[in-house]
Amino acid sequence: MRQRLERRIEQAPLGVLARAFFDQFFASESVTSDLQLRQAMIGILAFVILPGLFLLAQVFPAYQITAAVAAARHRPALIETALAQICLILVTYAMVAVGLIAVFTWDALTFSRRDALVLGPLPLRRSTIVTAKLAALTALLVGASAAVSVITAVPFTFTTVIQFSIRDLITHGLACLVAMLASGLFVFASLVVIRGAVMFVGRDRLAAAFGSVLQGLFVVVLLCFMVQLESGLRAMRSTGFAAGAEGLMPTAWFLGLFEWLLGATRPDYAVLAARALAAVAVTAAAAVAVSFASFRRHMQLAVASSGLSRPGGAVRTTRVCARLLAGPDATARAIADFTLLTLARERSQQVPVAVNTAIGVAVVISALSSRVHGLADLAHPRTAVLWIPLVLAYWLAIGMRAAFHVPANLRAAWVFRADLSGGSRSVVAGVRASLLAGVGLPVLALTVAISAPLYGWRLAAWHLGVVTLLIVLLVAVLTQTFPHVPFTRPYEPGHAKLKTRWWIYLLGMFAFAYAPAKVEVMLAGDTLSLTQLVGVLAAAVLTVGYVAGRSSHRRAIEWSEEESEEVPEMAVLNLSGLGMRV
């Protein structure tokens, strides 16, 4: 009895730590209470489960038709093929969805320097700390995989079972569930390993930059997966995966696992299933090893001097450009510089930019894949090509504006209240310069890179002019809706009102990107009409600029009330159960 009690007392820090590490996955400066934490968790789950439901609605009716045809023609092979296709889609979905959850909790996938600093001095065994971290990771993985897999595997089982028997139900259900869970575990563990490896190579700075890229990438893949599902299904004529080139794809391994569990006798399925199981075992073991190693590494780094290394994310060219655009106003230059440096170095601010840009990339890819079927289609100007820089500029600007609402080290914002001179006009000029430089530079470079080789320098120059003017116009409008210094106000949950205003964002994209690109296509080759178009856009830019200038004169800078400066403690590494609060 006493031994059991002692063991429970000894295990208590493990539970508290595991809970603290689990909270870290969803914690940020914008999440300051348990309620918001739960909302964040539910929001992320809803975001990844929704495509699963959408997927079911698309896939299963098609399967029913195939099953009916197979029954009528006495060709059971049709059903096997369809079943394999559905399983491949579900496995891919599980990998992308679990991967998306993992990259959104990227910073917390391995230990951080703060963990080492806080936990190092506490009387805790290293094994306890690492076990707690692994427990938290497992809880996240189980939660994410279960949410993604169960919601699709159960309908899959009931829809695809041929002869309704308990044995078939269990076999189908288990095969699908195991294949999806294993594929999710493989992706999750791989990302933990990548996170740890990147941290070892380039410390936290490189790991942070890598995280934003992966976040964008997974959003693009998930959106493209949803949009391209139907055409993908049509294109998928054969699933005869062999252990050759196609057998190198992880999705094929888990399809093999599914078929093998169903009792398929083809030898290549057994090979693929063995690969799947080996991959899961290797990556899981590597993830455990990386967790141990990363804690050890951070313990070393925490006590070592950080040396004279320069911080990453200097964005020098963009900052120089922003300073030039801000003009002689030193305050505007300061705000533009601060904004771009913060975006380049702070992960919380990079997330909205990465996600929104990913939406733009997904839109572009979808349009290209449905409208352009070969190089011959690119010979003449097309809306699906000309609108690429505009779509990306639109979503990048929307992402940057969303990032401005995410606070960065809110308590440090006193410096703007105490030292800012120049008033709201300077603030607006600074925000505008940072948006113009941040959006303009990459997008204009992309415009030239796309349109010059395809359509020649003359048309590229016209297109560049149109894109430039449209970006200036968009930035002028967006700046008017942002009357304060970026990152200096507490986050207002749901300020974007995506649930009710999503159509405004789509309408905006249509007006900003599709319509001008369509007009450009119609006017291509007609110099006079193109000149008129540029003239109209220039007039619009001047008008909006004039109106914006007048309103920024009248407007006062919005500061949060001093009383609200007392920001609640972040829900990061809340070790209250261990008798301390960080």
Partner: protein, 254 residues
């Protein structure tokens, strides 16, 4: 001259400060003392324009600062109590941000930043972000940021926090030199020895009200006490320290 007249601040039903009045002449260092919760921070925040008073006035050279807060802030240098900085910026990047916000031309600003960093002994750390700085190094950045624009009024809230002995000695001399150059200096601190060495007059706050306002020497003579520490204890009516100490030890052992 800085004149503070009948300053009162209510936080809802709670009183922050009440009827706080004092003035500071150019060339003078006024110490602001008081136990935790006495209203020092509220007073300092009102004087820096970060907080609006419920009633009362603050005047600089006879002008109400509320009439033109921006111009007032242009003359003000402020070292806050807590070193809240943008830790993703390097030291020079932070100082450049502050200098530009204060409209200092870039060339002059860069020269000043380099010199400040060298004089404060943090030049070698100029490529590190502030997240890697020690508390003392961050404090030095805050001090440099406060005087970067050569302000007429300097408000220092616990400026010695985290500084090593030699840096603290340098800062003490710097504060006195600022006053000698005709600047108005307000110095808020818990370290009574430093206040005694640096300040020409002190204001002692307790529960939002002024309980003592005079030169250190006068206060000592008036209360017939040997040190500022004793004066402070008498005026703020500190609770039985020995009793509380015993309680702390007992709780720790329990």
């Amino acid at each position: 001259m800085l004149e503070v007249s009948r300053l009162t601040k209510w936080y809802g039903a709670l009183i922050g400060i009440q009827d706080v009045s004092f003035d500071v002449e150019p060339g003078e260092v006024l110490g602001l003392l008081g136990p935790n919760g006495s209203g020092k921070s509220t007073t300092v925040k009102i004087l820096t324009g970060l907080l609006r008073p419920t009633s009362g006035l603050v005047r600089l050279d006879g002008r109400n600062i509320a009439d033109d807060l921006e111009t007032y802030k242009a003359h003000l240098g402020y070292v806050p109590e807590e070193p809240h900085l943008y830790t993703h910026l390097t030291g020079p990047e932070y100082l450049r941000l502050v200098g530009r916000l204060r409209q200092i031309p870039d060339k002059r600003l860069d020269r000043k930043i380099d010199e400040f960093l060298q004089l404060l002994g943090i030049y070698d750390d100029r490529y590190q972000t502030l997240s890697a700085y020690s508390k003392g190094m961050r404090q030095k950045i805050l001090i440099a940021a406060a005087v970067l624009h050569d302000p007429r009024l300097v408000i220092l809230d616990e400026p010695f926090s985290g500084l090593d002995v030699s840096a603290a000695r340098l800062l003490k001399a710097f504060v006195r030199a600022l006053a000698e150059q005709g600047k108005v200096v307000l110095f808020s601190s818990h370290v009574l020895e430093v206040v005694e060495q640096v300040c020409s007059r002190v204001v002692i706050l307790k529960e939002g009200r002024i309980v003592g306002h005079d030169s250190v020497a006068n206060l000592r003579t008036m209360l017939q006490l040997p040190s500022l520490d004793a004066v402070f204890a008498a005026l703020t009516a500190e609770e039985d320290v020995a009793g509380r100490l015993n309680g702390l030890l007992a709780t720790m052992r329990a």
